[in-house]
């Protein structure tokens, strides 16, 4: 009977298939997952809701997965040699964005196969391609699938060619499904059984399980998702985290199907969750190996890496009195986000805030949005910057995560992080894309036609050039058709300078930026001009200067205000005038003082926003 196969802890590995779905945002992964849940009957019609597995509002709204999920589904093959045999399918959802490449790689490492899901009306996108390469590196078996074949605009033949070319199969090998109508989904599940290999492990060896996700839950503490490689994890065992040696009591063990179901154990090849009572995902890190305390494995599974922030930004509450709330909110988000780092920071211009490190821009945006939405905070964020390493002439090395830390003294060299970027674009936009990459100090590493119409461009680019406005520019220059993926590949020495913005001779820390020497002038001019329009006239003339060290490279002037007086003030005006004055004084309190210059908070917010691009990205 089904029960025998299905009971976790004793599943014959031969009957297990672990797989993930690699897909671009909007290519219908969540909808396909929904259909799988229905067709395998782990969710009944009544409980079904759209994007069942996406837990956060932001995930649902943006159609991206931030945290991965793993669902155990029973499936009885309906065709082929194994017709009628019962299987357990573990679908491991992967995060869908470039910032989370490391998490993606760990999810892939938990699988033997990957479903490459591509929209039959759009073709493959850069991130999907990057993840496909990752899957191939992990020796995963790939099943190419074209989704949305019910769409009138679908061109399955064309994109089947493209996929076949990419992974070296025949166009006929591409399955065709519709997550919307359910067409082809049962066949896909059968092919998963037939094509993907079963997991292999040593049942008698000391237990080893890889953590591929770790999620904080208010009621249960940290829920850790694992894939068992060797041995057996049993409820009530004491487990050990191999990277830190920390030992935890196993309070609960089970599988997700798609709600949590407790089990007695998890055996070779099985995928499930652990609860140990720890309260912080840092104690249960993605990529780490779980073993048993009384019979530990000698060697950890490979591939573990500490998450390393790539992009830094200062986050400040608009209302200074919200600072303690911001700290509390960050502390809470941190429980669920091992990659988020922050430390208190004070800005003369913006007050008290935090310097926060993120995996990338999307990570930054998501954190910011969650802080604003879930914790009701109004925030200003400073322009994001990457991490620089400065070699000083005295042989010391300085790490710079904030432009204000950029050393004033003589430096021998400045290193900046570089990425390998992949851009997929229709061939008509190749020129525009190359121009953009060139202007961002990119070097072309390769170019390949995926099909007659679509081109893959590979560039090395400084990360700093990508985090500012690159994606928006790419989209606008290609009418939205190009897609981008990148991964960090190291660092390079570059001719970088710190540009300071001075207001009436006083540097404004929030506007200092580290930029390439060639774009310093443009940065200075742009910001000085912006500030001139944003800062109200003062009683005295206010020069705005952009400077590299003591050398001024751009200058604007705010003319002095000449009239600030109410013409009439007689008996009946006095009360009104007093109230007006009190209001003005209140307004003055909200002004930030830069030396003697009063700058309204809004001016900082507006000057730090990248015009409309920050807005358009959200849409």
């Amino acid at each position: 009977m089904m029960e025998v196969t299905y009971a976790p802890g004793g599943t014959d590995p031969q009957r297990i298939r672990n797989f993930c779905i690699i897909a671009h945002i909007d290519h219908g992964k969540s909808t396909l997952a929904d259909r799988m849940l229905q067709i395998t009957e782990v969710v009944d019609q009544r409980q079904m809701r759209a994007q069942y597995l996406d837990r956060m509002d932001i995930e649902r709204e943006r159609g991206i997965t931030i945290k991965s999920q793993a669902v155990r589904m029973p499936w009885t093959a309906r065709s082929g040699e194994r017709d009628g045999d019962e299987f357990v399918l573990n679908m491991i959802d992967t995060p869908g964005h470039v910032d989370f490449t490391y998490e993606v790689s760990r999810s892939l490492a938990a699988c033997e196969g990957a479903v490459l899901l591509v929209d039959a009306a759009q073709g493959i996108e850069a991130q999907t391609l990057a993840n496909l390469y990752l899957a191939l590196e992990n020796d995963l078996t790939i099943i190419p699938v074209l989704n949305k074949i019910d769409l009138p605009a679908a061109q399955p033949e064309k994109y089947a060619e493209e996929l076949a070319h990419l992974i070296g199969c025949e166009p006929e090998d591409c399955l065709r499904v519709s997550g919307k109508t359910g067409a082809g989904v049962a066949e896909l599940l059968d092919q998963i059984v037939h094509q993907f290999p079963p997991p292999v492990g040593e049942p008698e060896a000391p237990a080893r399980a890889m953590i591929f996700d770790s999620v904080y839950d208010t009621y249960r503490g940290v829920v850790t998702y694992v894939r068992v490689i060797d041995g057996l994890l049993e409820a009530r065992d004491r487990i050990k985290m191999m990277s830190t040696g920390a030992v935890h009591e196993l309070l609960e063990i089970g599988v997700i199907s798609p709600e949590p179901i407790k089990s007695k154990a998890l055996g070779v090849g099985e995928v499930g969750y652990l609860i140990t009572g720890v309260k912080d995902v840092r104690q249960s890190k993605v990529g780490d190996t779980v073993t048993l305390n009384n019979r530990p494995a000698r060697e950890a599974l490979g591939g573990y890496a500490d998450p390393k922030p790539m992009v830094y930004s200062g986050l400040y509450p608009i209302d200074g009195s919200d600072y303690p709330d911001l700290r509390e909110a960050l502390d809470k988000l941190k429980l669920n986000d091992a990659a988020l780092v922050y430390e208190p920071e004070t800005s003369a211009a913006l007050g008290f805030g935090f310097r926060c490190g993120f995996l990338g821009l999307l990570h930054l945006e998501i954190i910011r949005e969650r802080l604003e939405r879930e914790f009701g905070l109004d925030l200003i964020s400073t322009a994001p910057n990457v991490v620089y390493t400065v070699d000083m002439e005295d042989g010391t090395e300085v790490e710079v995560t904030n432009p204000s830390e950029f050393p004033e003294g003589k430096s021998a060299a400045v290193h900046e992080p570089v990425v390998r970027a992949t851009v997929l674009t229709p061939n008509e936009f190749v020129g525009a894309v190359m121009e953009l990459c060139q202007s961002r100090r990119g070097s072309l590493m390769g170019m390949e036609y995926l099909s007659q119409e679509r081109v893959e461009l590979r560039y090395t680019l400084p990360l700093a050039e990508i985090i500012y406005d690159f994606f928006d520019q790419l989209k606008s220059k290609t009418r939205g058709y190009a897609s981008l993926d990148y991964e960090a590949t190291g660092s390079q020495v570059a001719d970088l300078v710190k540009v300071d913005i001075l207001l009436h001779g006083e540097p404004v820390d929030a506007f200092s930026a580290i930029v390439h020497k060639d774009s310093a002038y443009a940065y200075g001019v742009r910001l000085a001009e912006k500030l001139r329009k944003l800062i109200p006239r003062q009683q005295f003339e206010v020069p705005i200067q952009a400077a590299i060290g003591s050398r001024v490279i751009a200058r604007e002037t705010i003319r002095a205000i000449r009239k600030d007086v109410l013409a009439k003030c007689y008996g009946g005006d006095i009360t009104r005038k007093r109230k007006l004055l009190e209001k003005q004084k209140e307004g003055k309190k909200r002004m930030k003082m830069v030396g003697r210059v009063e700058v309204p908070q809004e001016a900082f917010v507006a000057a730090l926003s990248t015009d409309d691009s920050a807005e358009s990205k959200k849409k």
Binding site: K568, C569, R576, K579, Q584
Partner: protein, 407 residues
């Protein structure tokens, strides 16, 4: 009386004042303001509490108005109960006081005298519209005891007057000023407005010259304030008229100060110039020096011993309250010490006497020193312990006040 009344607490039905207020009435002088809420027509820029005959249906008429004020005078007599000193100043404003028969103004003035008494050298002023006075009318006012006439001239340029909806012809105001002087008024003021849409530098220069040529001993010059809800505000919003920017207003102010001081009229308040100390408007100085006054009439504001109150705005409501023997006061506020300090700084700084540096609370003195360095306060006066605005400081008076006050 500008704008909407402020929020406040209700005025007691009998209009009574706290004992502490009564104990200090008139310490800094006592005056009377009489509001006359009538106009022949409404000007496009005006948001004062005033009504045309057509707007005033029922109840209150020009003919019955003097009796209403006499009613409120009786109420004031009950409330103050002999605590007030004789009135040093009486000021009739509006509206257009001179739309009332001169005898009615005289009757009200007699009422004031009977209620409070008038000081020996009391200043008795009235505002007047150039088109509503003639030599006979002026003679009657002089006879009744009036000592000062203030005429709304606004501009000598026809197209500027048209934008302001003023009905008089360009020369009429100056002519009325001459008539007033010839009648025997020792003190005559002309009111001017600058910064009206369409006004050119030469229009303003001509207006100043005309005022000087009329031989008055006092000129008030105001930058046009476009109040919300006025017809002028609507026209500007619709783009029919373009408001000049503040730098233009600043230039006009400098032109006014140059022309007027060259003609022997010196500034003594941000928007007021006078021939000599005797020519200064003592009633307005009472406001700026924190004195007490009772304001009569609808919408009028009063200040007695740290209590400010304001009457209901509509003449019918005002009449109805008085008819029931109830105070027409609509709301009031009892000024806290910090409110009085703030008012003191903001009002006194506007006048040439300035404010004693030692009377400023920290960080006032220190900020004052910096304002001297910035050229906003007068260096010589400061050496004598007085914070007095310079010419540039007058244009930035509000900013200086904000700066001198504690955060």
């Amino acid at each position: 009386m500008p704008g909407l009344p402020p929020d406040g607490e209700p005025v007691p039905r009998d209009g009574s004042l706290p004992a502490a207020a009564l104990a200090s009435v008139g310490e800094r002088g006592f005056g009377v303001y009489v509001h006359v809420p009538f106009c022949a027509s409404r000007c496009g820029y005006c948001d004062f509490n005033t009504y045309t005959a057509a707007e005033l249906a029922g109840g209150v008429t020009r003919e019955s108005y003097a009796d209403l004020v006499l009613d409120e005078l009786r109420l004031a007599a009950r409330v103050l109960d002999g605590t007030a000193p004789k009135a040093r100043t009486v000021f009739f404003g509006g509206g257009t006081p001179t739309l009332l028969p001169a005898d009615d103004l005289a009757r009200i003035l007699d009422g004031v005298d009977a209620t409070f008494g008038l000081a020996e050298d009391a200043e008795i002023s009235t505002e007047a519209n150039p088109e509503s006075v003639d030599p006979a009318y002026l003679a009657r006012l002089l006879d009744a005891g009036f000592t000062r006439v203030s005429l709304g001239m606004q501009s000598a340029a026809r197209h500027v007057l048209a934008v302001l909806d003023r009905k008089h012809s360009p020369g009429r105001a100056a002519q009325a000023a001459v008539e007033a002087r010839e009648t025997g008024f020792g003190h005559v003021n002309l009111d001017l407005i600058y910064g009206t849409p369409g006004e050119r530098d030469e229009d303003w220069a001509a207006s100043l010259d005309a005022a000087v040529a009329a031989g008055v001993d006092h000129v008030s010059a105001y930058s046009l304030i476009v109040e919300d809800g006025t017809r002028l505000a609507a026209r500007i919003r619709r783009g029919e008229l373009a408001m000049p920017d503040d730098d233009v207003a600043a230039d006009r102010y400098l032109a006014a100060d140059a022309t007027l001081s060259a003609a022997g009229l010196d500034w003594y308040e941000v928007s007021n110039w006078a021939r000599d100390e005797a020519a200064r408007c003592r009633h307005n100085l009472l406001y700026w020096q924190g004195g007490d006054w009772w304001g009569f009439g609808p919408g009028a504001h009063s200040h007695v011993g740290g209590v400010r109150w304001w009457n209901v705005r509509h003449p019918s409501a005002y009449a109805a309250r008085l008819a029931e023997g109830v105070s027409p006061g609509e709301g009031r506020e009892l000024l806290a010490d910090e409110d009085r300090y703030l008012e003191d700084v903001l009002l006194r700084l506007r006048i040439v006497d300035g404010i004693r540096v030692t009377s400023l609370a920290p960080p006032g003195p220190e900020k004052a020193a910096r304002a001297v360095a910035d050229g906003l306060l007068d260096e010589e006066a400061f050496a004598e312990g007085i914070a007095r605005l310079t010419l540039r400081g007058r244009l930035l008076a509000d900013a200086v006040v904000r700066d001198l006050l504690p955060d």
